[in-house]
């Protein structure tokens, strides 16, 4: 697939802008701060309904404006689809698909698929586990949009359960080891009973939804690993054994099987989460948070025997992050029988000249690649020559 046209209004630094694109490579050039990333951010948003830079929509709306709009015309198998999004910070966003309103913005997911690599992705290697969980979950959604629903359901169950733990903790602690429940205090007994009962209900739901998410992540990790190894090697021209394993917050026996690469059945995962929650009951009541579940897991990245985090050099970390994104690209391409749109934001500046050339060769057969660069000289000449260039100055796009 490819994006044929992008039109934004009041998005980031743009009052209005239109970018016409074709298949092949398009390079956006312009000095720092002129609005290159803003444009590719809009394309990424049309695909995933979130920005790769910020967690809320407010910064995406041009300063002083009330709402932003994004239109992306996507060509797939020769047919146009038009995504229209209206970003209303603090209120519900709205979406149209082919000019008809859809009940929820989520319904446009899947129309456009992108893989976006940007400097922020270095955090995939160097940052917190949350970055890697988000990478997996975003890829799940790009593969199958229904995971967006499962993910938000899980978040909701988790918030509810944490709220209950916070409220219930004082009640249950008072009746626990610290002080024996006084007989003849039926109200307190009943309140405790009710909290325990309710907690049990949330345990059930957390295990049910959490095991679905966990199972999906484990399968994804398994599917993605060979692509990661070969993408890393291709970019770095080496055999460095880049790999990854899933670190799971469930009890040890199950966590070890998972770390060894096994993908247990969902029912088994559900039972494991349930049992681990039961075992963690006292700790959780003490701390008022849920300590077991996919929201506590991590993806351990390795170069050979060593963990990438804390050991890999800057350039290696960069190549690892790029390897993860290129692997995601290969996976989606295979899954969909169609190329997602590849976006490389400011990537070339960080790579040595050999890695630049290798990357340019790697992306040459992609249906559409959108590259940004502050210094055109950073982009391999072959790539520039093969495609179109647009220059971006102060929130204005000019296409030659």
């Amino acid at each position: 697939m490819h994006v044929r046209q992008l039109v934004v209004t009041d998005f980031r630094s743009y009052a209005t802008a239109q970018l016409d694109l074709g298949p092949g490579v398009t390079t956006l050039v312009g000095l720092n701060g002129q609005g290159k990333t803003n444009l590719v951010e809009a394309i990424g948003y049309a695909a995933s309904l979130s920005s790769h830079r910020v967690a809320t929509d407010q910064p995406l709306v041009r300063f002083g404006a009330e709402r932003a709009t994004i239109r992306a015309v996507v060509v797939r198998h020769g047919r146009d689809s038009t995504i229209d999004l209206e970003l209303n910070p603090g209120r519900a966003n709205r979406a149209h698909l082919n000019r008809s309103p859809v009940p929820r913005p989520r319904d446009v997911l899947g129309t456009l698929r992108t893989v976006l690599f940007a400097p922020e992705d270095l955090a995939l290697v160097k940052g917190d586990p949350a970055e890697r969980r988000r990478f997996l979950d975003d890829l799940l959604v790009a593969r199958q949009p229904r995971w967006a629903g499962v993910r938000s359901e899980y978040d909701r169950v988790l918030k509810q359960r944490n709220a209950l733990l916070k409220q219930g903790a004082p009640l249950l602690r008072a009746g626990g080891r610290a002080r024996r429940p006084r007989p003849g205090d039926p109200d307190a007994d009943e309140a405790r009973e009710s909290v325990l009962h309710t907690l049990h209900v949330w345990d059930t739901h957390l295990a049910a939804v959490g095991s679905q998410l966990l199972y999906a992540r484990l399968r994804l990790t398994r599917d993605l690993t060979p692509d990661l190894t070969s993408a890393y090697d291709a970019v770095s021209e080496s055999t460095s054994g880049a790999s990854m394993t899933y670190r799971c917050s469930v009890h040890e026996e199950m966590a070890e099987r998972i770390a060894a690469g096994e993908v247990p059945e969902p029912a088994e995962l559900e039972a494991a989460i349930g049992a681990s929650l039961a075992a963690a009951r006292d700790t959780e009541l003490e701390r008022g948070i849920t300590t077991v579940g996919p929201h506590r897991d991590d993806l351990v990245l390795r170069l050979g025997e060593l963990p990438a985090k804390g050991y890999a050099s800057h350039g290696e970390s960069w190549s690892f992050a790029l390897g993860l994104k290129l692997a995601a690209y290969q996976l989606l391409r295979r899954d969909l029988g169609d190329d997602p749109v590849l976006i490389l934001d400011d990537v070339f500046a960080e790579l040595d000249s050999r890695r630049r050339e290798r990357l340019a060769e790697l992306v040459a057969d992609c249906e559409q690649v959108i590259v940004t660069a502050a210094v055109p000289g950073d982009v391999p000449a072959a790539l520039l020559a093969a495609g179109a260039t647009a220059s971006v100055t102060l929130g204005q796009v000019s296409q030659g």
Partner: protein, 199 residues
């Protein structure tokens, strides 16, 4: 911040469900600019609604007497109770014409984030209604979202030893949604295809 009573009005409106701070401001200024007669009528209705509308002592539905019109209707099947969150859900189920039994309105769903536990819902009243053995089936028709599902699980566990048939609306309802917004056909089908649950 606006001065005194204007800000009070905005604050009060902002506490209504579905009204955000901006909406509250818009409504407030609309009222300030409106014809005084219109505003008087609105305030009279607000006062009257609290005086005259009551909740059915049996099922919790809105009523104009001690009992609602459904509980008073002798043609309804008294062996089956449909449990819903809000009175508006009674209307939604009634529209499907699939259901001829009685209702029980919980007055919400379990939601720790909003400080709502089982004790805040009309669950004791439900258990009391089941005591005499007339009712043989309970349909859990709470909303198909996280809170509604949790409430259904809680109830199915609580009621499981009473020897009743307990069922949950079949899937097909928009997940994460609100019973009220399901169209009649979908909701009707969900009723027909309800499946029994075991705590």
């Amino acid at each position: 911040m606006y001065e005194g009573v204007v800000q009070d009005l905005i604050d009060e409106l902002g506490r209504l469900p579905g009204v955000g701070p901006k909406g509250a401001q818009r409504i407030a200024f609309h009222l300030l600019a409106a014809d005084p007669a219109d505003v008087t009528r609105l305030s009279e209705i607000l006062a009257r609604v609290k005086d005259t509308v009551r909740f059915c002592q049996t099922c919790g539905n809105v009523a104009e007497a001690d009992q609602c019109r459904i509980c008073l209707d002798t043609r309804r099947d008294r062996t089956i109770i449909c449990v819903v969150e809000e009175p508006k859900d009674v209307l939604a189920v009634e529209r499907t014409r699939e259901f001829r039994g009685l209702y029980h309105v919980l007055g919400g769903a379990i939601s720790p984030m909003d400080g709502i536990g089982p004790g805040d819902l009309r669950i004791r009243e439900l258990v009391a209604r089941l005591a005499d053995g007339t009712v043989t089936e309970v349909i859990l028709a709470t909303d198909p979202n996280v809170q509604g599902e949790a409430t259904a699980t809680y109830l199915s566990r609580l009621l499981k030893d009473l020897g009743l048939t307990i069922s949950r609306l079949a899937s097909g309802l928009p997940v994460g949604g609100d019973l009220e917004y399901a169209d009649e056909v979908t909701l009707g089908r969900a009723f027909e295809g309800r499946r029994s649950v075991h705590g």
